[in-house]
């Protein structure tokens, strides 16, 4: 009964989405207030229906209702409760439901935080989001119904893939999808602006917090995915330049470019058509990412929940949405105008350069990801593009972009003076060159890439200090400086913190790539192996029984200079339902280094292959992402986005009061 309610709710949601995608848009075009006013309630009802469907599916998982095919495929009665709830998005059908549910959540957020927007704008934005939602709901209802029944009912389910039975997997997909789907808001704002022909600073100001919020979720989602592959796959790798990772990285690059370009559009009115194009691209790349991951056409370490037959539908949906928006862009862009002019040396030009670099980076990832697929589709042979390509492309592209991160915030709008910038930044430059030259020697080994990486990280930190000092340069007293810092908008601090996050990230990547060490050795109980000053001693290997797996567990004692550091217990598990073996590495985590031990194959009854790894600063990679996301959060919640809202609300309630008075 409950699954049928869910199914019915989904069909109703599709009907509401269709109404929401047609009536408000027509109403806004023709000026019919009643149809315009439909947008908000339609979005809220749609979300309520989606939430109901989602709860029904979760209920089926929690109560082990294996008569539902999707539950039987992805759950088992021995699975712990929290993973049974997370299995809702452990497969293809449920992930699509999660995707639309989150789209609904973003729509409701738009209805709640749009009091300061003109009603036609809200109607158009929600109408465009309704179109996206209708497309995906049609996809779910007609090709991948998560509530489809199974007959005869199996006694038990096939279990969730053991690699997904990890706390990281509980939060990673929702975060990543929040990011993907969040760009639909920026996209909807862009399309709404194109439809209305109103592309101005106000539009950019409305669009900015949404874009920042989506970017923040995407950053967290990617970081979680990377951490998952590091902790769970047992290889100690944190990024493989794998197509599925690239699929999430491309919208991130486009979104990062979009954030910066929106800043220019808001402050100076320039780059308007470029900003709109980026907003379309960021969402198109999100859709492409969904398509690539869902369609199963990739060989990937992250390819779960795939179903090749459905790929075609998403591809058609993708082509229709992106094609029509680009067409609209082409038709309307001539009307947009160019905006304010600026000098060759100015903040605009540094942001433009940053945009070009990020876009080229996104395009090069796109090339490396799609070219092999295109070649394969044409029957011209199977190829793959390895990490060396991405490494070769990214270092030269990102190095100037990171350099500009130091210059941009100091440069003036419209026209900046190169000598003035040079004077301001000379100490920062000296410090970073020194760091690049000397720090690697302290750490043990100098190479051009390590030097460059550390110099860039130091450059971002040092130039941020200079920017902060420049902010209070004319304040006079300490109290004046404090007052000035307090009156500085929150979004400025958000930017600085996000940039510092990049510095932390670069430092982490550079040090872990430059100084990580690893050994594969055969060991018997009592054997020791030395690695980067640590001594790993295998105490013994024993059998362990888990809730839904059996494991072989090694006890590994780690000492340094004769003192015990920790004892680690790496495992090889066999999950009983799917008979699937997994390698569960054991990690001693520290801020400055991780020790990573993997238990490999048994060579005979007493001898094992063991991999030990020393990973300095590896946690800084995710710490950096966390700091970036924090910066995004601060910027998204800046006062000026909220003040506009409250002012408008106050104004409209005043109007209401006067009208009431007049009526009396």
């Amino acid at each position: 009964m409950i699954p049928e309610i869910g199914q019915f709710a989904l069909s109703l949601a599709l009907a509401v989405a269709l109404a929401q995608s047609i009536l408000p848009l027509v109403g806004a075009a023709r000026g019919i207030p009643g149809w315009i006013a439909l947008a908000r309630p339609a979005a809220q009802v749609q979300f309520a229906l989606l939430a109901l469907a989602f709860v029904c599916l979760t209920y089926a998982f929690v109560t082990n209702d294996f008569s539902v095919a999707y539950v039987a495929m992805h759950s088992n009665s021995t699975l712990p409760l929290v993973y049974r709830m997370a299995s809702v998005w452990g497969g293809h059908r449920g992930s699509m439901l999660l995707w639309t549910l989150l789209l609904g959540a973003w729509m409701v957020a738009v209805t709640l935080f749009s009091a300061h927007l003109p009603e036609e704008m809200v109607a158009r934005v929600l109408g465009v989001m309704g179109i996206v939602s209708a497309g995906f709901l049609a996809f779910i209802v007609f090709t991948s119904d998560p509530f489809a029944r199974l007959f005869p009912v199996p006694p038990n389910g096939q279990d969730l893939n053991p690699l997904l039975q990890d706390p990281g997997m509980v939060v990673h997909p929702p975060m990543l999808y929040m990011g993907y789907v969040g760009f639909s808001v920026a996209f909807a704002f862009a399309i709404a602006a194109l439809l209305s022909g109103r592309l101005d600073a106000a539009w950019a100001r409305w669009s900015r917090p949404w874009t920042l919020a989506a970017w923040m979720f995407l950053t967290l989602g990617i970081a979680l995915g990377s951490a998952w592959s590091y902790y769970v796959l047992g290889w100690g790798g944190w990024w493989f330049w794998d197509p599925v990772e690239n699929a999430s990285f491309m919208p991130w690059l486009a979104g990062t470019a979009l954030i910066h370009s929106l800043a220019v559009t808001e402050k100076r009115g320039s780059f308007r058509s470029w900003t709109v194009l980026l907003a379309i691209c960021a969402f198109a790349l999100s859709l492409l990412g969904t398509f690539l991951v869902r369609s199963g056409i990739l060989t990937s370490v992250h390819a779960f929940a795939v179903d090749p037959r459905r790929g075609v539908f998403i591809l058609i949906l993708f082509a229709a949405l992106v094609g029509s928006s680009l067409l609209l862009f082409a038709v309307r862009t001539a009307r947009i105008g160019l905006g304010g002019s600026f000098a060759v040396v100015s903040r605009e030009s540094s942001l433009l350069a940053n945009n070009v670099l990020l876009s080229v980076a996104a395009a090069s990832v796109l090339l490396g990801t799609l070219y092999p697929l295109a070649l394969d589709a044409l029957g011209a042979g199977k190829i793959s593009v390895g990490p060396p390509y991405f490494d070769a492309v990214f270092v030269p592209l990102m190095a100037p972009a990171v350099f500009l991160m130091g210059v941009g915030p100091l440069a003036r709008w419209k026209r900046a003076s190169l000598p003035e910038l040079a004077v301001l930044l000379r100490w920062a430059l000296a410090v970073s060159v020194l760091c690049g030259a000397l720090l690697p020697l302290l750490l043990g080994r100098w190479s051009p890439l390590i030097g460059l990486g550390l110099a860039l990280a130091a450059w971002v930190v040092a130039s941020s200090v200079v920017t902060l000092r420049d902010r209070v340069r004319h304040a006079g007293s300490a109290a004046g400086a404090w007052a000035r810092l307090r009156s500085t908008p929150r979004s400025w601090y958000g930017m600085m913190i996000a940039h510092l996050g990049i510095a932390v990230f670069i430092a982490g990547v550079t040090v872990v790539k430059g100084y990580e060490t690893q050994k594969d050795v055969r060991m018997q109980a009592g054997d020791t192996v030395e690695l980067s000053g640590y001594t790993f001693r295998l105490i013994g290997v024993s059998k362990v029984q888990g809730p839904n797996y059996t494991a072989t567990q090694a006890q590994m004692q780690i000492t340094r200079h004769g003192r015990t550091v920790t004892t680690l217990y790496p495992q090889r598990r066999v999950y009983t339902v799917q008979h699937m073996p997994t390698i569960n590495a054991a990690i001693d985590e520290g801020l400055m280094r991780h020790l990573y031990v993997t238990l490999g194959d048994p060579l005979n009854a007493t001898t094992w292959v063991v991999r030990v790894q020393y990973k300095p600063l590896v946690s800084w990679i995710w710490l950096g992402c966390l700091v970036m996301a924090l910066g995004g959060l601060l910027s998204a919640t800046d006062r000026r986005y909220r003040v506009a809202a409250t002012m408008r609300r106050a104004a409209s309630s005043e109007v209401a009061v006067t009208q009431a008075g007049a009526a009396r």
Binding site: N161, L163, G234, I297, L298, T299, V301, A303, F304, V306, S341, A343, V344, S349, A353, V356, L357, V360, A363, S364, L367, G368, Y371, G381, K382, I383, S384, V385, G386, P388, Y389, A392, V393, P396, L397, D520, V521, R522, Q578, H579, M580, P581, T582, I583, T598, G600, D601, L603, T607, V609, R611
Partner: protein
């Protein structure tokens, strides 16, 4: 400087930067393409010597063995028509097992052994890497053609 000149400088600088980066990207792309060959194609000497490529197929049953150093493994990859010995130093992925699909990336040594730098198996026990499936399909088609 007149605005017209300024815009010209911007455009020229932009185009130059764009063409340099495009050249850089395409060059890196060309030199890092990794081609895929089936065991049959490798046996027919179609695969390049001294260049990294990928092979795929099934791990032949009963061929997985550890070399005396303990950490190097050797196994045979087959597309059911031809087979190739593969050597790999390190820990094999979780789902690597005899009779299952596998994709290996590496070089062909002069002694005819494929020295793998990377071995990929699937996360999902029921799922075959597309390349491995392709190799089996081609070998099957070749047999039917005969």
């Amino acid at each position: 400087m007149k605005p017209r000149h300024r815009r010209l400088i911007l455009v020229v600088a932009g185009l130059t930067a764009l063409s340099i980066t495009t050249a850089l990207v395409l060059n890196a792309f060309r030199s890092n393409l990794v081609f895929f060959f089936t065991p049959t194609q490798v046996a027919d000497r179609q695969a390049p010597i001294n260049k990294t490529f990928r092979i795929g197929g099934l791990v032949e049953k009963g061929t997985l063995k550890h070399l005396p150093d303990g950490v190097t493994v050797q196994f045979v990859v087959t597309d059911t028509a031809k087979s190739i010995p593969v050597r790999y130093k390190g820990i094999l992925p979780d789902l690597f097992s005899e009779g299952k699909g596998v994709v290996a990336q590496g070089r062909l040594e002069p002694d005819g052994i494929f020295q793998a730098q990377q071995v990929l198996a699937k996360h999902d026990a029921n799922y075959m890497p597309p390349e491995a499936a392709e190799a089996l399909k081609m070998a099957h088609a070749a047999r039917l053609a005969k």
